[in-house]
């Protein structure tokens, strides 16, 4: 193959259509639940209807005797052999961590916890027999309310003696990155402005579209697990570490995975139980959850109370911020666990220059589903808190909220900038993003319309909401993780294999589940090696192919995994060079590599890298002492986090007569550094925005006073539909990252992190005129109406109960009805 004379346009930056799509739009997919193996058995779980109870007895006789049932196991049968679901990030060395057995034998700690598993020849027979398992429970008082649980009134796990898992603090004075926050607040009380607010981050459910599914095949030398997971490599490590099976005997495969959003960043009881049953019975086993099971037992997200104290001068310059967080972890501490709220520690100060800062966080156990990473993980909560506070400050000052932000933000010529929290932001330009967003939005015109509607007493009022966010992503520099007591590193791995036919196989340790890695990574490698985009194949998600990796979460795949690709590709070029020189009968030092071709400087002699790959394959002719082969692998450890930012502007129309909040316009200008594929980026932004908007307007996981999730189906947990939403106006400014070679910043979580406060600020901006000072999320029509027309503070708290049934004589009125039957 010879290089063309014309310089091809670089792949990076092209809006390539995705390589993944052909199979996905034709149904030629590999979802875990599609897998059928010879003799495969099916699992159905028996789950506790009680939030907290002792297991008195379990009668499995009827289930055992049912048609085609092969086995029934309880927690006693599984014992120690089942392993544990581990927490990888104890945030302090003294963290109080409940033992998390996948199937407990003695006591259940949340409604939905598994107490028995039925194994049968078909899924339907397993489900039928599961209904025959008779469990006797002795109900215990349940810790449900977050604030009450923080007072240890009722214990989620009595043997621990407390619900408080840890206390984690970042103090700018103590760590030397800023002043004393109490002094700043005292000074502001005397001579400036102090704003104190309490915000609620309601509990959300990631609600990936593909329900979780696991298949375990124990036949053969390696035990193979297919799972709908974001983290095949971490899963493999944790299976080995907690079940005693040598890691070398374990193969984990994440095939096509239907979304995750952090919800599949977990080691789950369902995976561990399927693993146990398959090994015990020696037959392949499958478990696929129902949507309702997914909602009650897969981990939830957010769920915080935030107490914020902001100190400012009379002019509006913020001098200090104090954050007190209570974070609900639910019944168990998941893989990231208390690390999720702690990630907010570096983000409450956001894009601003504060003199003093303090972050205090207490993660609390309750008898509800566990809480762990959900898109943004700690950073949406922080961004909501500070962006709501900046609006409150603007109201207090009677100034435009953008003006107040500008007064406080880091200027573009101040980068790199070390914040009061101690993070060093490499690059950014808040002025540029804001100017562009204002223009796209028609900020001044919409403000004029808002005034006109107010003056006219229009029943539909207009509100404008702002969020000038930044976030830290690209998890993460390994040394930093080590200093935070995290159980692993934050590097990523890649291998580039040069095939003799000229094709290139690239193996990444990142594990895509909708992000488009196969496309974007192909673009990066195509440019680096000078080979056609179509000739690059990206392999991932199978630990036997991708032997080393740390998977996909925290907007890390491109900014960490992409850099590993660059390193590996550059190594291939370096390894190919001596062989190219040998074949060209030239000196290595006289070779240069460009667009896929080694040429001898000053001559027209050259050879393509794919021809070198073929020569390496044949190995008929290579230099003495050279190892025949040019494949290479690399591990990249990031030197810093990634700090994308952006300005988001939202216009909401509020019907004051019905309380309905309708989105009129949403504009965002995100600065995510250099863009590999603008089409994929747009998709990430749109989807991210929607999840943040959904928190503001639609979603909430609600428990009743018995600890039952009453929003436990898609009838009750309100995901937005196409009809509830609008098309967005998105654009970018570009401040390339200075800490990686591609100049990229993460984008996967940005939209979700930014959008929630923009929407809520807009809703409040429309209804403050009616004396409304704050409103809880989600801003449902009922809540908005109550906020305007009643004295219910913040529009009234969510009622912890199921929506009433129309006919009270109908069954299904009680959430624990049928328990134990």
């Amino acid at each position: 193959m010879t290089a063309t004379a014309e310089r091809p346009a670089p792949e990076v930056g092209k809006d390539r259509r995705r390589k993944e799509d052909q199979r996905l739009i034709t149904g030629r997919t590999h979802w875990t639940d599609n897998i059928t193996l010879p003799g495969m058995l099916h699992l159905a779980m028996v789950r506790s209807p009680f939030a907290h109870a002792k297991i008195v007895s379990i009668d499995t006789a009827a289930a055992q005797a049912a048609t085609n049932v092969v086995a029934v196991f309880t927690g006693k049968d599984l014992g120690e052999e089942q392993g544990v679901n581990a927490n990888a990030w104890p945030i302090t060395t003294e963290q109080v961590t409940p033992n998390h057995q996948p199937m407990p034998a003695e006591r259940v700690a949340f409604a939905g916890e598994i107490v028995a598993v039925v194994v049968a020849r078909t899924a339907a027979e397993a489900r039928d027999a599961a209904e025959l398992v008779d469990v006797e429970y002795d109900e215990l008082p349940a810790a449900l309310d977050l604030r009450e649980s923080a007072e240890d009134k009722v214990l989620a796990h009595p043997e621990l003696g407390t619900n408080k898992t840890a206390f984690w603090q970042l103090d700018s004075a103590a760590q030397g990155s800023g002043g004393d926050v109490e002094e700043a607040i005292a000074e502001a009380r005397a001579n400036g402005i102090v704003i104190e607010r309490e915000f609620r981050q309601q509990r959300l459910i990631p609600a990936f579209m593909e329900p979780r599914s696991t298949v375990v095949d124990p036949t053969g030398e390696q035990i193979t697990m297919w799972s709908a997971t974001q983290i095949p490599h971490i899963l493999r490590f944790l299976l080995a570490a907690t079940t005693g099976v040598p890691e070398s005997k374990i193969r984990v495969i994440a095939p096509d995975v239907g979304g995750g959003f952090g919800g599949k960043l977990q080691s789950t009881p369902e995976e561990w139980i399927t693993w146990f049953v398959a090994r015990r019975l020696g037959k392949p086993c499958k478990y696929t959850e129902t949507r309702s099971e997914s909602l009650v037992s897969a981990h939830h997200g957010r769920d915080q109370w935030q107490k914020l104290t902001l100190a400012a001068t009379k002019e509006g310059r913020v001098t200090g911020l104090k954050v007190d967080l209570l974070a609900d972890l639910g019944a168990y501490i998941g893989v990231v666990g208390g690390g999720v709220p702690v990630l907010g520690a570096w983000m409450f100060n956001a894009i601003y220059k504060f003199d003093a800062y303090q972050f205090n966080c207490t993660p609390v156990l309750t008898n509800k589903a566990w809480v762990d990473a959900y898109r943004g993980a700690g950073r949406p909560e922080a961004t909501f808190g500070i962006e709501r506070m900046m609006d409150e400050l603007a109201v207090e000052l009677g100034k435009d909220p953008l003006e107040v932000r500008e007064m406080n933000w880091i200027k573009h010529d101040e980068f790199p900038f070390t914040t009061v929290a101690g993070m060093t932001y490499d690059s950014g330009n808040y002025e540029a993003a804001t100017a562009k967003a204002k223009e796209m939005f028609g900020y001044d015109e919409l403000r004029a319309e808002q005034r006109a509607r107010r003056e006219a007493g229009d029943p539909v009022q207009l509100g404008i909401g702002i969020s000038t966010f930044t976030e830290m992503c690209g998890l993460a520099p390994s040394r930093v993780l080590g200093s935070l007591n995290y159980g692993a590193g934050g590097w990523e791995h890649a291998t580039v294999r040069m095939l003799p036919t000229g094709k290139v196989e690239v193996i990444t340790g990142a594990s895509a589940h909708g992000q488009g890695h196969e496309t974007a990574f192909s673009q990066i490698v195509a440019d680096r090696l000078g080979v056609p985009f179509e000739d690059v194949e990206i392999l991932h998600g199978d630990t036997q192919v991708s032997h080393k990796g740390l998977d996909t979460y925290g907007s890390r795949s491109l900014v960490v995994g992409g850099e590993a690709l660059v390193l590996a590709a550059d190594k291939v070029i370096e390894r190919a060079k001596p062989l190219a020189a040998h074949l060209l009968e030239a000196n290595v030092d006289d070779l240069e590599f460009s667009e896929g071709r080694f040429s001898v400087r000053g001559t027209d002699q050259g050879i393509g890298i794919t021809d070198v790959a073929l020569a390496a394959f044949a190995s008929h002719n290579y230099p003495e002492g050279m190892e025949p082969g040019i494949d290479a692998e690399a591990t990249y450890d990031p030197v810093n986090f990634s700090f994308p930012h952006g300005t988001h502007l939202c216009a909401m129309e509020i019907d004051t007569e019905t309380g309905r909040a309708t989105m009129r316009k949403y504009v965002c200008v995100d600065d995510i550094g250099n863009i590999i594929n603008p089409l994929i980026v747009s998709g990430q932004v749109h989807g991210g925005l929607m999840q943040g908007i959904a928190q503001a307007l639609f979603e909430e996981a609600v428990y009743d006073d018995a600890g039952t999730l009453v929003s436990g189906s898609f009838v009750d947990y309100l995901l937005p539909t196409a009809a509830d939403t609008i098309s967005f106006d998105i654009d970018h400014t570009t401040s390339p990252s200075t800490t990686n070679t591609l100049g990229t910043k993460g984008v996967g979580e940005a939209g979700t992190i930014a959008s929630t406060p923009a929407v809520v600020n807009a809703v409040l901006d429309a209804i403050r005129q009616f004396g409304v000072e704050d409103i809880l999320m989600p801003c449902t029509p009922e809540r908005v109406w109550k906020a305007i027309h009643t004295s219910a503070p913040k529009g009234g708290e969510t009622e912890g109960a199921a929506m009433p049934h129309f006919d009270e004589s109908e069954p299904g009125q009680s959430s624990t009805e049928g328990a134990g039957a």
């Binding site: 998709g683 939403t725 098309s727």
Partner: protein, 160 residues
């Protein structure tokens, strides 16, 4: 067990099924038509949408026995002779999918929508897709895909 005979993606099939078996279970478990997927258990998500005699149905809401004697088209039967259906093509062109799990249902519903209304407005597309949930795209590019399909190939999109 009840014997049913039907046409799926152009092929005659016949099986004994339990009367309670859902059409989606029949497609996936008996026929291996795993392109059609199950996303919920309350008929909210629409991931399992197929065509029954040319109209979209949620196949979790149809019993296999109800499909007896009828014609079913799944996402796997939409492309012909290697040519993608214009709506499939539009979803790829406009990046109307990310993880792809809702996509089979979303495409089947979009085809039905365009059969009914070959030139929908954005609002009509949004309302027409209300029964199909997506968690990745924020619907932005899905709506764009349907409008693109309508604009670029309305004559073909109308054909089955």
């Amino acid at each position: 067990m009840t014997k049913i005979s039907l046409t799926v993606d152009g092929t005659q099939v016949s099986d004994d099924v339990e009367p309670r078996m859902l059409l989606v279970q029949y497609l996936r478990e008996k026929l291996g038509k795993t392109g059609t997927v199950i996303g919920c258990d309350t008929s909210n998500c629409g991931a399992c949408t197929v065509h029954l005699d040319g109209r979209s149905v949620k196949s979790c809401n149809v019993l296999a026995v109800q499909a007896d004697g009828h014609e079913v088209t799944t996402i796997e039967g939409l492309a012909h002779d290697g040519d993608l259906h214009p709506v499939q093509e539009a979803f790829r062109e406009c990046h109307g999918l990310q993880c792809g799990f809702c996509t089979p249902g979303m495409i089947m519903q979009s085809v039905d929508l365009l059969n009914d209304n070959p030139h929908p407005s954005e609002e009509e597309v949004r309302v027409g897709l209300e029964g199909n949930l997506c968690r990745c795209t924020g619907y932005h590019n899905i709506v764009k895909s349907v409008l693109y399909a309508a604009e670029h190939s309305s004559e073909k999109a109308g054909a089955q």
